[in-house]
Structures are given as C-alpha cells and as structure tokens.
C-alpha cells in the first residue's frame, strides 16, 4: 500500500487576496507564495491554498471558475505512479485538470469513488511539512 500525508487544502474564492487576509489575520497563517491563480498559506505543517480561477480552463471541471468553497485536497506521496495504481485499483479515477497555466503541484488530479477531487504530489506543497 502506498502512503499519503494529507497536507494540502484548496479553497476557491472570488478574491484570493481578501481570502488570504482573512486566514492570515484570523488564524495567523503565513503567506508562502503566490501565482496568477493561487495564494499559498501555511501553518507550518499544512498548506492552505486560496484559488481564484480566471478562466474555465483554470477551474478544470464542471464546477466552473465561479465555484466558491473547499475545492480539493491533496496527499503528499512517495511515488506518483505507485499511488496512481492504488487509487485506480480502489475505484478512484484520473481527473485531467486544466491543460494550460498549470500550477506547479496540480498536475495529478483524481476523483475518489464519490467524485471528490484530490491531487497527489511527490514534492509536497509550499509551506507543507511531511
């Protein structure tokens, strides 16, 4: 069995700057990095990413770019190929995300058997500690 550490939670919001301030000011999270569609915060162990999709392509699934809420979560794994086999053997499905402007860690998205979206990464997320 592969092992995974849950270290990433992504929330889609209308304004990532405002949302990041909420989590910084309320909970003391630290801002680690930013990109066109993402602001990444950390509590020292967990990565909390605020997403602000600009296009439907950024959003990558039927929920669309205006979806607001907890969008996906992510597991830090040893090996993408091994984990992919485990995921698919247990009823998960590969979920190709946006084809352009890929955030660094978003390239391997899946759906669990209930359709819930998660991603896996072998190099973790900014600000996360394994």
């Amino acid at each position: 069995m592969a092992t995974g550490k849950l270290r990433h939670i992504a929330i889609s919001v209308p304004d990532k700057e405002k949302a990041a301030k909420f989590y910084e000011d309320t909970f003391g999270f630290q801002r680690i990095s930013e990109s066109r569609v993402a602001t990444r915060l950390s509590d020292g162990v967990m990565n909390l990413t605020l997403l602000q999709f600009q296009t439907q392509e950024d959003a990558g699934d039927e929920r669309g770019k205006d979806f607001v809420g907890v969008h996906h979560f992510g597991f830090w794994v040893d090996d993408i190929g091994t984990s992919r086999k485990e995921i698919e053997a247990h009823g998960g499905k590969y979920h190709p995300g946006p084809t352009a402007h890929l955030p660094e860690n978003a390239e391997h998205k899946f759906r669990d058997p209930n359709g819930i979206v998660f991603d896996i990464s072998s190099h973790g997320w900014d600000g996360a500690k394994r």
Partner: protein, 125 residues
C-alpha cells in the same frame, strides 16, 4: 497560530469512503461512531460523515468537502477574530447527545464552514 488539522468529507456511505482512504493512502482508522469515521495520517484528521447529516449546512444531501477544522488556544478569542474579519456563526440545530469535538462552528466570509476547538481531533498532532 491556529493549526489546520481536520477536514470532513460528506459521503453517502462512510464505511466505503473510509476504506478507499485506508487502502489507497494507508490512513489509519482511529475512531468509529454511529455517524462518523475518523481517519488519521499521524498529523491530520480526515473525517467521513454521512451526507444526510446536515449539521447546520443548508446544502441538502451535499457530497463533497464539507468543512475544515482549526485547533486554537483560545476559542472565545478566535470567535471574536473570526467575526471581526467577516465570518459568522453557523446556526446549529439542537443535537442533544451528539459528540462534538468542535467548540464553535463558523462560516468564513465565503461560505466555507469551519470548526474551532482547543481539544484537537483524534489522530492529530
């Protein structure tokens, strides 16, 4: 600083969903109650809850990532901070006998539900 240590997923069948995360990622089952299965990776708590248990959520039979949980040092102080920054309390139905880890429950300014506790969740560190 608060620590993000809990995420709850609402699903039609908590047993089946728990098995997916146990067998795929090696998460450990640390607690099972009638309405919850708590899994842990040693640091984070992942809880499966039935999608018909709405706990103050207006979304009927929602399946998906339901809420987050933060471990804090001071619940009333955190509640004040949340409200000062635009969050609002979740209007919870009375639920006698329910075993809650959370000490308060809020919506963030965007409608993300969050639990607040000093006691932490089982399986976290």
């Amino acid at each position: 600083m608060a620590k993000l240590r809990h995420i709850a997923i609402a699903v039609p069948d908590i047993e089946k969903a728990a098995r997916f995360y146990e067998t795929t990622f090696g998460l450990e089952r640390v607690l099972k109650t009638a309405k919850r299965i708590n899994l842990s990776d040693g640091t984070m708590n992942l809880t499966l809850m039935p999608s018909d248990d709405r706990v103050g959520d207006p979304r009927e039979d929602f399946v998906g990532l339901h809420h987050l949980g933060f471990v804090v040092e001071d619940v009333p102080g955190t509640n004040r901070q949340i409200e000062a920054h635009g969050g609002r309390p979740v209007d919870m139905p009375a639920s006698p006998g329910r075993d809650h880890t959370s000490e308060s429950r809020y919506w963030d300014p965007y409608g993300v539900m969050m639990d607040i506790t000093t006691k932490s969740w089982i399986g976290t560190k």
